[in-house]
Amino acid sequence: MAKAAARTKAAAASPSVERRPALAGRALSAPGVKVEILPPAERISLRAPQASLAALSKALGVTLPVKPKTSATKDGRTALWLGPDEWLIIDETGKDPLADCAKVTALHSAVGISHRNVAISVTGPVAAATVNSGCPQDLSLEAFPVGAASRTILGKSEAVLLRTAADAFRVECWRSFSDYVFTLLSEAASDAAN
């Protein structure tokens, strides 16, 4: 279904171009955890100084978080704190955050990275154990509560984690690493419940 949606969208943009999301539709269920590829989303990498945050937050419709390891979500758009002046914006409704940033005159740098990343959802009671198989961070609810977001390492790949619920993670990795990350999480999933 994700694939079909992406195709329709790409076809609308240009009839000769077909967009093929990496690993579309792949999913794995194991006792206590489910790993699946999420549909394509619009993403930007945003760098901005403190003085521009108010204007950018207004244009994007979501308040950019300034506290480390946090995120903010509004109307299907999530802003993840990655560094003191760096955010990852993910829009799952198909609206382009890049276009919203283009209207802002305050100093900032916004780069479209929609198709650089692939998102994988890890859900279920042992989701944290599954992600922890490759990620050395403390993912207990006290240290990594719902809404927490962090760039970190997952096996040999860099990844951005977002905890969407107590038992659900969104793992964002680079497209070329997605096969590795998905396989790693799948292997971990079959072990996690034990």
Partner: protein, 98 residues
């Protein structure tokens, strides 16, 4: 695994997220043309390499991607403290006797 406190993330993170970036507080001359060869050699190649407390640059490369400074003991591998890049060398180290 070592836990290193990132002064930007304001918490301890596993060492796998970090990368060492050499000795800290090495100032580049404002007028590098005027440097003598000896001075340039000292600036470019010569490092303290002490046995004991060392001031280093570290980068939270798989995290906030920021460079910061750390005080580490090369004998015990213990991190004494970390502080943001650009801040002066701490006058007094926590736990130091003098």
């Amino acid at each position: 695994m070592l836990l290193i406190r990132c002064p930007y993330c304001e918490e301890e993170r596993p060492e796998l997220e970090f990368r060492n970036a050499g000795e800290a507080h090495i100032a580049r001359s404002a007028n590098i043309d005027a440097e003598s060869d000896d001075d340039f050699e000292k600036f470019f190649f010569i490092r303290a390499n002490p046995k004991g407390v060392i001031y280093e640059r570290w980068r939270h490369i798989h995290g906030c991607a920021r460079f910061f400074n750390a005080v580490r003991d090369t004998v015990t591998d213990k991190f004494v403290m970390t502080y943001k890049a650009g801040e002066p060398k701490p006058a007094k180290l926590p736990g130091a006797s003098k």
